[in-house]
């Protein structure tokens, strides 16, 4: 995370990839414990990842990373359960007990982010789709839509922030 904050995008990507299975296992376990179906878990994982991304400046580089990460994860899991109107009981052990080794490597798709993507302004949606779905770089995306790279970065960031706000206030 330290090198990611220092501007190493590849290190950041690796870090997010490494924590995702842990978060997925924790989300499944939390849902199971609350008696909720596990099909919602990928939505929660994406919710957590967005919050981690947009709030990464609140991580103190002197402090351990795991408590920070799991505090965000726990918060988002509670939010998701509350939205479903269930009684909320999240055990901190759901997060503490998860070992990275026991999680399966996989990717899964979720509905909520995709659904909210449709409600974004055209420009932000285009940029997000180009980078997420078509795996285009910032530069290629800029060329495709005849925008400057700066404008692509701004649209990308605003799009992610807007997505997060929509998911939260849903």
């Amino acid at each position: 995370m330290r090198s990611a904050m220092a501007g190493d995008d590849a290190a950041y990507h690796r870090l997010l990839k490494a924590v995702t299975p842990v978060l997925r296992a924790a989300a499944r376990r939390g849902l199971a414990r609350a008696g909720a179906p596990a099909d919602q878990s990928e939505d929660i994982v994406q919710d957590i990842l967005l919050a981690v991304h947009l709030k990464r400046h609140t991580w103190d580089s002197e402090a351990p990373f795991a408590p920070w990460l799991f505090a965000i994860a726990r918060n988002k899991l509670i939010d998701a359960l509350r939205r479903r109107g269930r009684r909320v009981f999240v055990n901190i052990d759901d997060f503490a007990e998860v070992l990275p080794g026991e999680a399966r490597e996989e990717t899964a798709s979720a509905n909520e982010v995709a659904a909210q993507l449709g409600t974004l302004p055209q420009r932000q949606r285009d940029v997000l789709q180009s980078i997420a779905v078509d795996a285009a770089s910032i530069r290629d995306t800029a060329a495709k839509f005849s925008m400057s790279e700066g404008a692509v970065r701004v649209a990308l960031h605003r799009g992610l922030a807007a997505l997060t706000a929509k998911l939260r206030d849903k």
Partner: protein
């Protein structure tokens, strides 16, 4: 969208660096402060005998009390803006003004006060105190909440209440230079009530706007 696609998108946005929460909080308080000061100069103003009042230790003590509320409350609110932060170990900071007031009340008792206790407690400005402090707090509270939105508090209502304390502490610092009631008994009663009101507003607002 599948999660791998989301990860790729987040990594592409890594170049964007957000400022620290403390910087954003300070900036938004600086933007809000002129509004509170405007309320102060328009409706209140400094008391006319301020130059002689400075020599009264109980007048000066009011500023010590209000600032010892505002500054620790800023520190605690920044602490709470981190998701993993707990109140444990930090709450005592907010007791500093309470301790100061207790010592001051004891001091006034021992010095043999000039007026009966109830007169000092009720004072002349209780109603002004109860309305002015919240009125001057509101712009600061809005600024504080705006700044703290940049953070990620796991307990938004609590963080909002602390934002209420910090804005009430700053507003009370202004108000203290207007008010002619200097008895610590007056401060302990009416400043506290006004602060509790602002803190409650902060908690209610925080629960809504500080979720991340």
């Amino acid at each position: 969208m599948d999660t791998d696609q989301l990860l790729r998108t987040l990594a592409a946005d890594n170049a964007r660096h957000a400022p620290r929460v403390g910087a954003v909080l300070m900036l938004s308080l600086l933007v809000a402060a002129p509004l509170s000061i405007l309320v102060f100069v328009t409706f209140l103003g400094m008391r006319p005998d301020v130059m002689t009042a400075i020599h009264n230790p109980f007048f000066d003590l009011k500023f010590a009390v209000t600032l010892s509320l505002a500054i620790p409350a800023i520190v605690v609110s920044l602490h709470l803006s981190r998701p993993e932060a707990l109140m444990r170990g930090w709450g005592w900071l907010l007791l500093i003004p309470v301790g100061l007031l207790a010592v001051a009340i004891g001091g006034e008792m021992m010095m043999g006060p000039s007026m009966p206790m109830m007169t000092r407690l009720v004072g002349k400005n209780s109603r002004a105190c109860l309305s002015s402090i919240p009125a001057m707090s509101l712009p600061l509270l809005a600024g504080a909440l705006f700044g703290l939105r940049h953070g990620a508090p796991s307990h938004p209502a609590l963080a909002g209440a602390i934002a209420g304390l910090l804005s009430a502490g700053l507003a009370a610092t202004l108000y203290a230079s207007h008010c002619t009631d200097d008895s610590p008994l007056f401060v302990a009663t009416w400043y506290t009530l006004a602060t509790a009101l602002v803190s409650a507003i902060g908690a209610l607002a925080g629960a809504r706007v500080l979720r991340y």
